[in-house]
């Protein structure tokens, strides 16, 4: 009996050992040799493509030279007469010759390489097309496996699904159209689902989605979010390759791709457009590349978790971002980016404060910008700024009509006389984010900005300094006069502040807005923060409730700030926002801030639309007009012909009126994207209201608009299913793509660790 028991025990143990061994073997990730070969082939293709791009650039150069030659030829043309009179063109006045040359140059530049992806190529005129990934001259190329072996030994390369992101932006006027291509592959020996959380500009209107499998392009469909998620889940369960794009915040999205077979590649192309920020004579194009680690107040269940790689679920939040540990892990995911700027007028200067770039001038009003191959790690926002020639942009009225009716966009410039009015005394309240995510570079930058701002206060101003992290505390009990002694003491106070702890921004909001307001002064509350919180809706709701007569001017400090939060705070707070990257000085932002607040704004703005029958105008509350900062108003309209708009408001205690003549039928005032711009603005307005009004009812309205105009929103999603074949086996393992820490943000004080 004992022998039988012993034998049975041995047999069971042996069985368990064998099962355990196989389980471990299955979990181990293997790189198929096919993957290595494919990576080498891809690198070779990229080299060839770079050579092709260089040849194209040379051809374009030759075309431009031909245009110049033709222009010279026309300038020298005979006056006619003689045998060739009929065929010889008449002599041209010099200015005509110059115009002709400009026209030819434009024609030559139209033949230059790398036209915007929607319109490239001779054979096909389609919205989406598949092309071999052509790396333009100067762009980055994927790393070879042998190069990976040469990485510093402290950093371990982790094989992950997202190989590369390619961004192509096409800017015309103040609207950017951007195509983002994410290249996924399966480096494992079994099927996987890839999940990637990534940012886009908070005003991005995503309107196209294409899944490419080999040479097949499947365009995704916009649906109500629950339905899209259901379709995706069912397709995944049944073994079909499928993809789903959902929105977590206006600037945060999740891409899921199911049933990627071993060694296979799938590309996801999504296209969005957005309007550029214009201020003080400069346009700014921003492409965010990484989500910053968010803090969620205790008890929050609707936030965004920041967790280490592979630690899914430890934050308790519905959305999580996994981070690679700096110095120990890297993914190999890199990014290439090209921007084609067509300003319509001469571009005076163009630069990026965030990245190394290569700039090629196509014509005086067109520039091609490429991200340098030395700066391709996606760990900070890409910022491009360019100045245009001549006067600052004038007030403009643009229209678009289609079968849905008329849409307009009114760009309102502040009246020139605002710059001549003196400002009122201020009660400046500086609120400094001293949370853990600000530790190091970010807080140093913020403190520098704050100190500069303190030193620029006027003798009639008062000020307060508030710091917040887990809680809030103040420099003084009440705002103090801006005497040199008080400013000196405040500078000492600021200098000793450090970044540590959580980001209980609600405490900062309460401390800044809850004390009695000095009626003789205008209260300006200036937040200096990276915005790394997961409870944006709560913060915006609190600001709306407590704002009163105050104004909020914020500084977003860091390489990848939460612009959705900062921009929304500025809108709800009837103020403005400036951004200070880690690679640029804060002087510019602070000086512009003072320039802005040094003159009164045009407030309480009302618009008389004249003979235009307008409806659905957004934003519903027109923001104050500050010097150097135009405001964009969009809406629907009926009617034709010319009329005069009257814009009235108060500035410096006086009523001011501005008359704008518009022609709703003017052919040169049409813009194709206006309908979608209007829809996106309406969605943003409804979203903002949902922070303090009935979110369910507003959600329904958002859903209706988003579906009608084919746009992403929190209530709609894109889904694409390849129903042509099921993949073998079950739905495979879910692999979440971890991301690098934003540049300058510490890992240890921001990323949640598993509870011990």
């Amino acid at each position: 009996m004992n022998r039988r028991v012993t034998l049975a025990g041995l047999l069971i143990s042996a069985t368990l050992c064998v099962v355990g061994f196989h389980a471990c073997a299955l979990k181990k990730a293997e790189l198929p040799s096919e993957t290595v070969a494919k990576t080498e082939a891809a690198a070779e293709r990229a080299d060839q493509a770079a050579e092709g791009a260089l040849a194209e650039a040379k051809r374009a150069d030759a075309a431009a030279q031909r245009a110049e030659g033709a222009a010279g030829m026309y300038k020298r043309m005979p006056t006619g007469g003689g045998e060739d009179e009929i065929n010889a063109p008449a002599a041209l006045a010099p200015e005509v010759g110059q115009r002709l040359a400009a026209g030819l140059e434009r024609d030559a530049s139209a033949a230059s390489p790398a036209a915007p992806p929607s319109f490239a190529g001779e054979e096909l005129w389609v919205i989406a097309r598949a092309e071999p990934q052509a790396a333009p001259a100067g762009a980055t190329v994927p790393e070879r496996p042998d190069l990976r072996a040469k990485l510093p030994s402290s950093e371990k390369e982790i094989p992950l699904p997202l190989e590369h992101t390619d961004v192509r932006a096409d800017i015309a006027g103040y609207i950017a159209s951007v195509r983002v291509r994410q290249q996924y592959h399966n480096p494992y020996a079994e099927k996987i689902e890839a999940v990637y959380v990534f940012p886009l500009p908070e005003n991005a209107a995503v309107n196209e989605f294409v899944m490419t499998i080999g040479e097949r392009h499947i365009r995704g469909i916009i649906r109500e979010r629950e339905e899209a998620e259901r379709v995706y889940a069912e397709a995944k369960r049944q073994g079909y390759t499928a993809s789903l794009l959902t929105q977590e915040r206006p600037n945060l999205f999740t891409q899921s791709v199911a049933n990627i077979e071993p060694g296979k590649e799938i590309d996801i192309d999504l296209t969005y457009f957005n309007t550029l920020v214009y201020h003080d004579g400069e346009y700014e194009f921003v492409f965010p590349m990484v989500v910053g680690p968010r803090f969620n107040p205790p008890g929050s269940t609707t936030g965004i978790g920041a967790v280490p790689r592979g630690q899914k679920g430890i934050s308790g939040q519905p959305v999580e971002v996994q981070y690679l540990r700096p110095g120990a892990e890297r993914s190999g995911h890199d990014i290439s980016l090209a921007v084609d700027v067509d300003a319509g007028v001469s571009i005076e200067s163009i630069a990026s404060p965030s990245h190394a770039i290569e700039v090629t001038q196509i014509s005086p009003s067109r520039e091609r910008v490429l991200l340098s191959r030395l700066d391709t790690i996606p760990n900070k926002d890409f910022v491009l700024r360019y100045k245009v020639a001549g006067q600052t942009v004038k007030t403009a009225f643009l229209t678009h009509r289609d079968q849905r009716g008329g849409f307009f966009t009114l760009m309102l410039q502040p009246p020139a006389q605002l710059a001549n009015l003196p400002r009122a005394p201020m009660e400046m309240v500086f609120v400094l984010d001293c949370s853990g995510s600000m530790s190091g570079y970010p807080i140093a930058k913020a403190k520098g900005a704050l100190i500069r701002a303190l030193k620029r206060l006027g003798p009639d101003d008062t000020f307060q300094v508030i710091r917040f992290s887990d809680n809030a505390s103040t420099f003084g009990n009440m705002p103090v006069p801006a005497t040199s002694r008080n400013v000196e003491r405040a500078v000492e106070y600021v200098n000793q502040l450090e970044g540590e702890g959580g980001t209980m921004m609600i405490e900062g909001v309460k401390a800044a807005l809850d004390f009695p307001h000095d009626p003789r002064r205008l209260r300006i509350v200036s937040f200096m923060t990276d915005g790394y919180i997961g409870n944006e809706a709560e913060i915006l709701g609190e600001i709306h409730k407590r704002l009163g007569a105050s104004r909020i001017f914020s500084f977003g400090v860091g390489s990848s700030v939460n612009r959705y939060l900062l921009d929304s705070m500025a809108y709800v707070g009837k103020g403005a926002v400036a951004y200070v990257g880690l690679d640029e000085g804060s002087e510019r932002a602070v000086d512009e801030f003072y320039e802005r607040i040094s003159h009164p704004a045009l407030t309480d703005i009302r618009i008389d639309w004249g003979k235009l029958d307008v409806d659905d105008v957004y934003p519903r509350r027109i923001p104050d007009l500050f010097v150097g900062r135009p405001v964009i108003v969009t809406g629907r309209f009926k009617g034709h012909g010319q009329t005069t708009l009257h814009v009235s408001g108060r500035a410096g205690g006086e009523e001011t009126q501005l008359a704008i003549g518009v022609d709703s039928d003017a052919a040169d005032a049409v813009h194709p994207a206006l309908a979608s711009v209007w829809a996106r603005t309406k969605i943003a307005d409804l979203d903002a209201r949902a922070t303090h009004e009935d979110a369910r009812e507003l959600g329904q309205q958002i859903k209706t608009v988003a579906l009608e105009y084919g746009l992403m929103s929190a209530y709609t999603a894109f889904v694409a299913v390849d129903s042509s074949a099921r993949t073998a086996g079950d739905h495979g393992t879910t692999v979440v793509q971890p991301v690098p820490m934003p540049e300058g943000v510490p890992y240890d004080t921001t990323v949640q660790t598993p509870a011990h």
Partner: protein, 153 residues
């Protein structure tokens, strides 16, 4: 022995009944590609426009794919607003030289079908042209995978 057999027999019978496959319930949603073909005869096909209707049954589009010939490989134009109403217009063209002729697959609609029965699709050719833009006679077929061809002019 007899007692043992009597004890085991019911168990065996029950096991056999459990092992016999029950009538497989179709999944709540089914995914099926629906192919669109156009036959332009000897003329090269350069442009087409087709209207597709779900004549009966419950089906929704979950993807729109281009066709087989390189000229029509990219996903065609379509109106996102159309998807709600069970009717969709798709169209594409190509200005190049490598154009297909004869019967070719120009697009595939990936459909999610649900409910009893099989949805019925109808396609109507609204326009077809050859390389110089001249309209041509052509025929259109819409063929869900696994079903008989349905031809419509």
């Amino acid at each position: 022995m007899n007692r043992l057999a009597h004890a085991i027999a019911p168990l065996v019978v029950l096991s056999l009944m459990a092992a016999k496959p029950a009538h497989a319930e179709p999944p709540a949603a089914r995914f099926r590609p629906v192919q669109l073909y156009i036959d332009s005869g000897s003329q090269p096909l350069a442009a087409y426009q087709v209207e597709i209707v779900v004549a009966s049954g419950d089906a929704r589009i979950v993807g729109i794919e281009g066709g087989e010939p390189p000229a029509f490989r990219s996903a065609p134009y379509y109106d996102p607003a159309a998807l709600k109403g069970g009717r969709i217009i798709i169209a594409a063209f190509n200005t190049g030289d490598q154009l297909p002729s004869g019967k070719v697959r120009v697009a595939t609609l990936h459909m999610e079908e649900s409910g009893p029965g099989t949805p019925v699709y109808q396609a109507t050719l609204k326009a077809a042209a050859t390389s110089n833009g001249k309209p041509i006679d052509a025929r259109v077929w819409i063929t869900p995978d696994g079903s008989k061809e349905e031809e419509k002019k």
